[in-house]
Symmetry: C2
Subunit: 366 residues, 2 copies
């Protein structure tokens, strides 16, 4: 095992460490055992990740005298449902998990959100560990304690803030991730640089090719930086009452785009990429930041192979509805996270007509 | 409105007040409005309580410029299910509740547990208010933050610790409660005296008839005392890691009795009454407390019209299984909460044979 990066998420009694390394998946057993709890643990994964990594994890847990029960759900967003939740409760009971049993989420964001919510609510809460295997989950959803499922009426309508005891990140799992998903994960990486760290942003500008080539050291560095940045935001605002809102940079428009295209056309990170370029250009056009800031973001997004412009042909009505449905309306205006410089955010409140004006300027036809 | 009693549950950022009075139900609107939040609120109740008290509550909320949506579930324990939870989410969305909308539980323990868990998880948590209308809910389940639902495999297997913003108790709602339920609620009242307060216990010995006669002043006093006692325990041990276990006095055997009789023969408080007398006699027989302690508890339980003995004809096997399934096993023994004196608890660990010995001595045939 190479060197690992350790980050502490500081949340008082709910503090926890994040460990990031290359090739550490097979060492998880001893770490889980060191946290105490009962021998019986639940490992939740999906059909794809099961075939790739479940054996390594189970073997390591058994070697540490733990007794893991594997619970598999179908691949994909459809598993983030109340039906899957009920399925997990049944499997947990069958497997004999008790109040001191740890639930381990092995997979991407869907698995982390679903298994985390199950852990938050099974027997009113059992210990939980995140083992994210996608770049998006490693830099974003596995840190911060947001868990939940979707309802037919919308995404993430049910859930809990529930902190894991440990996040265990092996960047080698990214080598089996489809290239498109790596790129989509990079959108969130770019976001952290844009809103919180000029240094990370400059590193990305210099080292994007090494990241796209999945070089261990670059990945460990960058995933570590992102986790550190997210941890500092989450520590100050665990339940998303204020500061945490800056993490929505690119997300107001991004969510709207995903929704308008029925979550089929864009991966989350791709929609966020469009949203970030939109928000940066908007900031520049309003004189909130130099034009160069928007240009650098657009260039980095494009180098990462991500879309930077809104698609043509969006109906104004559906765009406004989708942005308005984003629950960020303040006094009739929609609040966007904008930039003052690379690493520094501000808020921009736009009325409907202003949104349409900027959206037109930022669409592919422009 | 007569004088009210106000108690603060001290849980740091999650602290909240309990207000107890006679005839205060129709004044809830102004109090809810004073907590802030959005105008749209959800009121969850059952079919029985709806007919009795929903109008008063809705009128008071509307008079305070709030916009309540009433959500009704069927009467009874069957409503504490994942299906009801899903139903509540749908109704909340239909009613347009948002992250700042308060959910009010108007009813007994089933409604409080169900609506509380829905509030804990809808949009990852919205403000929650308990308006308990049964004695059991007023002195026990509405205070402490335990919420949840049952699974077919067992009770309370899914849930969350989620504190309300306010508990609003009108003892006049007890006038419409069936007498049997009043008596069952008194079992938990007796429990607080037995484990935490000789003063309360003596008051009950003096004033039981006034309580059974539902005299306002006695009810406000006693409900206030119980809430104060439970609040102090909960403040020290929010998530049931230690001290809170003393609240299980009478519950180890009580739960077993409920389970063995399919939750049909005993109301919860009735089973707890049998369990308390069992635990007190057990304590006396083991020399942990004077015999007089057990005698006083037995006498008060019987004066309250509650059962004090185990039914004859219980199978030893099923009793042991039911007690063992209570998740309180330590090193092969089952832990009971016992008494050293009125107001002072201790733990008693019993092996299977000892449990059967004491159970035989405490059954109706003895």
């Amino acid at each position: 095992m190479r060197e690992t990066v350790n980050i502490q998420v500081d949340l008082g009694a709910r503090s926890y460490p994040i460990t990031i390394g290359a090739g550490i998946l097979g060492s998880i057993g001893a770490r889980v055992a060191s946290l105490g709890g009962s021998h019986r643990v639940g490992v939740v994964t999906d059909s794809t990740v099961r075939g790739l990594y479940a054996d390594d994890v189970l073997r390591s847990l058994r070697a540490a005298s733990l007794d893991p029960a594997l619970v598999e759900v179908a691949d994909g967003e459809e598993s983030k449902s109340l039906a899957s939740l009920s399925f997990l409760y049944d499997r947990f009971l069958e497997a004999g998990l008790d109040r001191r049993s740890t639930v381990i989420a092995l997979g991407g964001g869907v698995i982390g959100d679903l298994a985390g919510f199950a852990a938050a609510t099974f027997l009113r809460g059992v210990p939980f560990i995140q083992v994210p295997t996608t770049l998006l989950a490693q830099v974003d959803s596995s840190v911060g304690g947001k868990t939940g499922v979707n309802l037919p009426q919308g995404k993430n309508l049910v859930g809990a803030f529930y902190q894991p005891r440990l996040v265990w990140i092996d960047v080698l799992t990214l080598t089996t991730l489809p290239q498109r998903q790596v790129r989509a994960g990079l959108a969130e990486v770019i976001k952290y640089g844009a809103i919180l760290s000029a240094e990370l942003f400059e590193y990305l500008e210099r080292s994007l090719d090494r990241l796209l080539g999945l070089e261990d050291e670059a990945l460990v560095n960058v995933v570590g930086d992102c986790c550190r940045l997210k941890a500092s935001v989450v520590s100050e605002d665990e339940r998303e009452s204020g500061l945490r809102a800056i993490l929505n940079f690119g997300h107001t428009l991004g969510h709207a785009l995903e929704q308008m295209t029925d979550y089929r056309r864009y991966l989350h990170g791709e929609a966020v990429a469009v949203g970030m370029v939109f928000a940066a250009r908007l900031s520049a056009e309003r004189g909130l930041c130099p034009v160069d800031v928007a240009t650098r973001i657009e260039r980095l997004v494009e180098r990462a192979g991500l879309p930077s412009r809104l698609p043509g042909g969006l109906s104004a009505d559906s765009l406004l509805r989708a942005v308005g449905a984003d629950k960020k309306i303040q006094d009739g205006k929609v609040r966007f996270v904008g930039l003052q410089s690379i690493g520094k955010t501000c808020f921009v409140d736009l009325a409907g007509a202003e949104i349409l004006h900027h959206a037109e300027a930022a669409s592919v036809a422009a």
